[in-house]
């Protein structure tokens, strides 16, 4: 058997093994994407007739009353999310990493990871029912200090609702992000630390000038995940506020969902979905293009 034929045979086997996975991916991800794109050009009500309307759905969305508030909310949530994801878990990971005892490091890693076993929805319900409620922890604490005037419906007051939503999960210290940063910090060679210390770098200076640049791969990964998660995610708003009061916590994903399944405007919802897809794609490309990790910088330097 010639080398070429042998290569073909082994490659064909790999393709054969890949094909079931790819087939499922195509049926459940790629074909629906194309279908959604096509549907976005139709005025299509579930159970009714569909009518080709060209780019009307896109034009209508440009004039949608929720467009500006929902994208402003999205920007706020994304910026806040990025700020949190790039600071608190990294700081916690560094603190754990600095512990002398390997046993203590292990214990703290486990302790900080434990909160992820609580389902996200359950966590939100706890915040909604026990903390932000009329007689929840926040209001009762204020009453305890005689500040009834400051009590409010944290999730129904237009002035506080967005902040109440983003502060769920405070102090943002648990979860997998810490482990990702920890892995990055653990991957930094000891010799680099020694060299930095020889050059006089200590404490915060060393953290900012040595550790942070060297965990940029992790920052980049978490940035992409956070952006995608924030743009796509609406379940939190759906559960907590339904995007209200008014449109104070409306996000494009939730409006897409409501148009699809409440108002039955599937074509219009698909148009919003396509716009969100393009937004995520652009942000990811920008991130990949301009946000360099240490490995990439190293490769460019070489």
């Amino acid at each position: 058997m010639s080398l070429r034929r042998r290569n073909f045979a082994s490659t064909a086997a790999i393709y054969a093994m890949l094909s079931p996975t790819f087939g499922l991916l195509a049926v459940f991800s790629l074909v629906p994407f194309v279908w959604a794109f096509v549907t976005s050009f139709y005025d299509y009500e579930v159970g009714g007739e569909s009518r080709f309307v060209g780019i009307d759905n896109y034009v209508e969305y440009l004039h949608d009353p929720t467009l500006l508030p929902s994208f402003a909310n999205l920007l706020f949530l994304t910026v806040f999310g990025l700020l949190i994801v790039s600071t608190v878990p990294l700081a916690v990971a560094k603190l754990i990493f600095c512990l002398k005892s390997e046993r203590a490091r292990y214990l703290y890693r486990v302790l900080f990871l434990i909160p992820i076993v609580v389902p996200g929805v359950a966590g939100m319900m706890i915040w909604q029912g026990m903390i932000y409620n009329d007689t929840g922890l926040l209001n009762e604490t204020l009453r305890l200090f005689g500040r009834e005037d400051l009590t409010r419906g944290w999730l129904s007051d237009p002035r506080t609702v967005l902040w109440a939503v983003v502060f769920m999960g405070f102090p943002f210290a648990g979860g997998i992000n810490i482990l990702i940063y920890y892995a990055g910090l653990a991957g930094i060679s000891e010799s680099i630390h020694e060299a930095a210390e020889l050059d006089g770098a200590r404490g915060m200076t060393k953290f900012l000038k040595v550790d942070v640049p060297l965990v940029m791969s992790q920052v980049k990964l978490l940035t992409i995940l956070t952006v995608i998660g924030t743009v796509q995610g609406f379940e939190g708003m759906f559960i907590l506020t339904k995007g209200g009061p008014g449109f104070k916590t409306m996000v494009p994903g939730l409006w897409m969902y409501m148009n699809a399944f409440s108002f039955q405007r599937m074509g219009y919802a698909c148009a919003i979905g396509v716009i969100l897809f393009l937004l995520i794609l652009s942000l990811t490309v920008l991130n990949m293009r301009y946000f360099r990790s240490s490995e990439e910088l190293k490769a460019e330097g070489a």
């Binding site: 009329d134 999730l155 237009p158």
Partner: protein, 509 residues
């Protein structure tokens, strides 16, 4: 987006409906030719509404008797979440919805043109075969229903009846009698006293009034609207439908609202419209702080709130809950006197409740032949609903809990619910804003009103939203239904002398 794509693909219109599946609660596994799946809502056998009392049995007993009459038919109950619009639409589009469902018929109207629901008109005009000769219903099924005008008001905009109104529901203000006595307070007789009462409760550091935001948008708007427009309806009412009884004679249909809107009503230029929302906003200060997520029943039961505006279903909870350690009573919202608001005339508050359980038959009910005219399964489905409406069966099902009032002559309401019966005989509201236009209108109205009464936007901003929302909804419904509003021109002109006597009407654009 991928989920949307999948949904779009899965729900794309197809010609064939298929037999669905449901959750069975019965142990009988004998083969039967027809299975009628019923999503009965609150009467679901085996459940304990509000986690109180014994598991419900009434509907299962009736079904068992029906199965004896129709040995080829099995009645299967499902607790499928048909009240969730997302669920119901996908099931209907796939032809897999339960055969009999219980949802608000206003939601059904949005979809009647899709052939998902069966009109009852033909059956209502015929005898109920289970009614003995000489009793109401033996000539026309229609005759069995006690609250005729409310039941008939459930006619869809296309003129057909898509639901059987099985029972009635009405709202009331539940109040803590013990607390009132302790604080020396009385049930108010008008809005002035009502507001004073709430201020006294607030001063006593009690939440005066518990109500959720959707109730304000739904009941609150319609009631205050009725109070402020009541005296000028004669100059606005464009349609006179002799088939409607007095109960509904002052109700505006959507086409009338659309015409009036083009004459300047329900805009920023209409002072009554502005005032309607202003009154609600002024009232807001007496509600609980969080109107969206707080468990109001719990707050009432734990005596953190003195009054609770809710539906008759709450009687079941309060009468049976051993944790309720106080006396409670019910009163209805008091009238707004002219001295409180220059547009009000102090007439009694109208009815905003009405049909509670509303049974609809879906396209799944004739999936044996895919033709309603020839379907044997459909005959059994209709027969089961007819059997359900026999007075003794209504009594067994509806009166098993203290939530609703039977809507069949011969089945009396439980004594605890009698007050609601008297309210239900009042005149109906002039509008049901949230059940007139499309769901997008509802969504925007609810949201913006919520924002307005919670100081999230100014009155001007709110009215700008409402004006645009009402106009868009009117334009949409006129376009979709292809209605020529000029049919009202003559009547409008005829009513001009009546309007000439009224002050502060909106100027025509």
């Amino acid at each position: 987006m991928i989920v949307l794509g999948l949904a779009a693909w899965a729900l794309w219109p197809r010609g064939v409906t298929q037999v669905g599946s449901g959750v069975r609660d019965q142990k009988d596994s004998a083969p039967r030719k027809y299975t009628v799946r019923v999503a009965p809502g609150i009467y679901m056998p085996g459940t304990r509404p509000q986690d109180l009392g014994k598991p419900l049995q009434g509907l299962a007993d009736v079904a068992r008797e029906f199965e004896k009459l129709y040995p080829d038919t099995r009645i299967e109950f499902t607790d499928a979440p048909v009240g969730e619009r997302e669920y119901l639409i996908t099931q209907l589009a796939a032809g897999q919805a339960p055969d009999i469902i219980n949802v608000n018929v206003g939601d059904v109207w949005q979809d009647v043109q899709k052939g998902w629901y069966l009109p009852f008109d033909k059956y209502l005009e015929q005898p109920n075969p289970f009614v003995p000769k000489g009793q109401l219903g033996c000539e026309k099924w229609w005759d069995q229903f006690k609250y005729q005008s409310i039941s008939r008001s459930k006619t869809a905009p296309d003129g057909k009846v898509y639901c059987i109104t099985y029972d009635m529901v009405e709202t009331g203000i539940f109040y803590n009698k013990s607390m009132f006595a302790r604080l020396g307070l009385q049930v108010p007789s008008d809005w002035f006293e009502f507001i004073q009462l709430q201020q006294k409760l607030k001063d006593a550091r009690v939440i005066p009034f518990l109500v959720d935001s959707s109730a304000v948008a739904d009941w609150g708007v319609d009631l205050v609207f009725n109070q402020l427009y009541g005296s000028i309806i004669a100059g606005m009412k464009l349609k006179r439908d002799p088939s409607r009884e007095a109960h509904l004679s002052r109700f505006f249909d959507w086409d009338e609202l659309a015409y009036l809107n083009r004459k300047g009503f329900f805009t920023r230029r209409d002072p009554r419209f502005v005032e309607t929302f202003r009154i609600l906003k002024a009232w807001r200060q007496y509600f609980e702080k969080d109107m969206s997520s707080t468990d109001l029943t719990k707050m009432f039961v734990t005596q953190k709130g003195a009054m609770y505006w809710t539906g008759s279903w709450e009687v079941n909870r309060l009468a049976r809950d051993p944790d309720v350690g106080f006396d409670w009573g019910i009163f209805y919202l008091p009238p707004i006197p002219h001295s409180y608001d220059r547009f009000a005339d102090g007439h009694d508050q109208c009815v905003i409740g009405g049909s509670g359980t509303q049974f609809e038959v879906t396209n799944s009910a004739f999936d044996d032949t895919h033709d309603a005219a020839t379907s044997e399964k459909l005959k059994r489905t209709i027969a089961f609903i007819q059997y359900l409406t026999i007075p003794k069966n209504v009594d067994r099902v509806v009166n098993e809990i203290l939530c609703f009032l039977p809507n069949v002559v011969g089945a009396e309401p439980r004594p605890e619910l009698k007050l609601f019966d008297t309210i239900l005989h009042r005149e109906f509201a002039n509008t049901k804003w949230l059940f007139t236009f499309d769901l997008r209108f509802d969504e925007i109205m609810r949201r913006m009103l919520d924002l307005y009464i919670n100081n999230g936007i100014s009155e001007d901003e709110f009215m700008a939203w409402m004006e645009t929302n009402v106009k868009t909804a009117c334009d949409t419904i006129v376009r979709r239904k292809r209605i020529d509003l000029s049919k009202f021109d003559a009547k409008w002109n005829e009513l001009a002398p009546l309007r000439a006597k009224v002050q502060e009407l909106p100027r025509e654009p």
